[in-house]
Amino acid sequence: MSIPPGTHPTNQPRSLHAEVAKGAIEDAGLTKADIDGYFCAGDAPAALWPMVDYLGLKVRHIDSTETGGCSYLIHLGHAAEAIAAGKCSIALITLAGKPRTGPMPPRAAGAEADFEAAYGATTHNAYGMCAMRHMHDYGTTSEQLAWIKVAASHHAQYNPHAMLKEVVTVEDVLNSPMISDPLHRMDCCVVTDGGGALIVTTPEIAKSLKKPLVRLIGHGEAMKGPRGGKDLDLTYSAGVWSGPRAFEEAGVTPKDIKYASIYDSFTITVLMQLEDLGFCKKGEGGKFVADGNLISGVGKLPFNTDGGGLCSNHPVNRGGMTKIIEAVRQLRGEAHPKVQVQNCDLAVAHGTGGLLGVRHAASTCILERV
């Protein structure tokens, strides 16, 4: 029996965590006994300590920072800090779950739930608000947003694991059903089972392994919320703070970036974050993404060459892990030949977690080929 892309009907989330951990450990040429640091977030069944026991780890550093979909980008930064401080030497980060064939994970209810729940807003509404306001302030159009999905679909056609492999046009996006005005169905990411894992270690240990080397050279993290009523502008994300911190630490600028993994829960998420990271000025994201500028081999900034969350995979409704993995593939030269960026030596992986338009975290990682 074949399993449809993006589903794991029989496996339990905890065994998916073990599966991705095993894959990453073996890919690095290590064994489980080498792992002395472990990172996981809110998708881990129960909590961190049952996961550590289930995986049979003996670790001396743990971190369960939970910031929704960008947790794993923050874990990467924190793992590098812990390693630099000597708290661990080989860290494992895992994400896995199955919202498609299992129950949808509940959305975290914050301190303001009593005040917000009555309005019955869905995730789509929160992002629709941002898109609507961006259009109002800057004249951004649905056609421009659609180009982001079009670019993702051009990449997904080469990914055998992508859930949606069909190349779509701007018209296809505009003709798909309206979900939360102005976001159409094709402006929304897929819902998939799945996961991913990372190994982070010291430069010395990394050099002793057989894989091409990728180094984290800059990291930033930030949060944004309504802040008592003073931060209600819906057209920017916490990326305006996490991005500059990461670029400054790395000593590079957005102009130097050859490939970008950008969190794509919705098309508007990508557009706002590209502006926030400084790939173009605030309000000019629509022009920036139009006409295939994000398509590998066609435009100036190839993005999400695995097809991203919009077409390939958005495991457990959390896209941060896959953003790092595809950036690493690009820097290793292991992306699909049809989407591999030539001489890809510098990449950014960026994401948000929580809800744009309500309250969220952001994290930016700058990665270079060594």
Binding site: M104, D114, A118, N125, G128, P177, S180, V191, L232
Partner: protein, 87 residues
């Protein structure tokens, strides 16, 4: 005819009880900090700006402007909690 939407009943606590009591009487209350003078919403017992605990209730003067309009095209069906991209 569509089912009437049911809204969750807010769970009050000492920090927010007066907001909901006033709401029953048709009043929209915000908090103001008497130390820094700044108003804030949602209501907090400690000012989110200067962290003073000298916050008091005041009735909003009742005017504002919309930051956005958000019509929801998704038809909600009971029990359907998945994303519209689910099929």
């Amino acid at each position: 005819m569509a089912e009437a939407k049911k809204y969750p009943t807010p769970v009050t606590n000492p920090e927010t009880a007066q907001f909901w009591e006033a709401a029953k009487a048709g009043k929209f209350m915000i908090k103001r900090c008497t130390a820094c003078g700044e108003p804030h919403y949602f209501p907090r017992s400690i000012c989110p700006f200067c962290f003073s605990d000298k916050t008091v209730w005041e009735e909003s003067f009742g005017r504002g402007h919309d930051l956005h309009l958000q019509p929801d095209a998704q038809i909600r069906r009971p029990g359907r909690m998945r994303s519209p991209t689910s099929r």
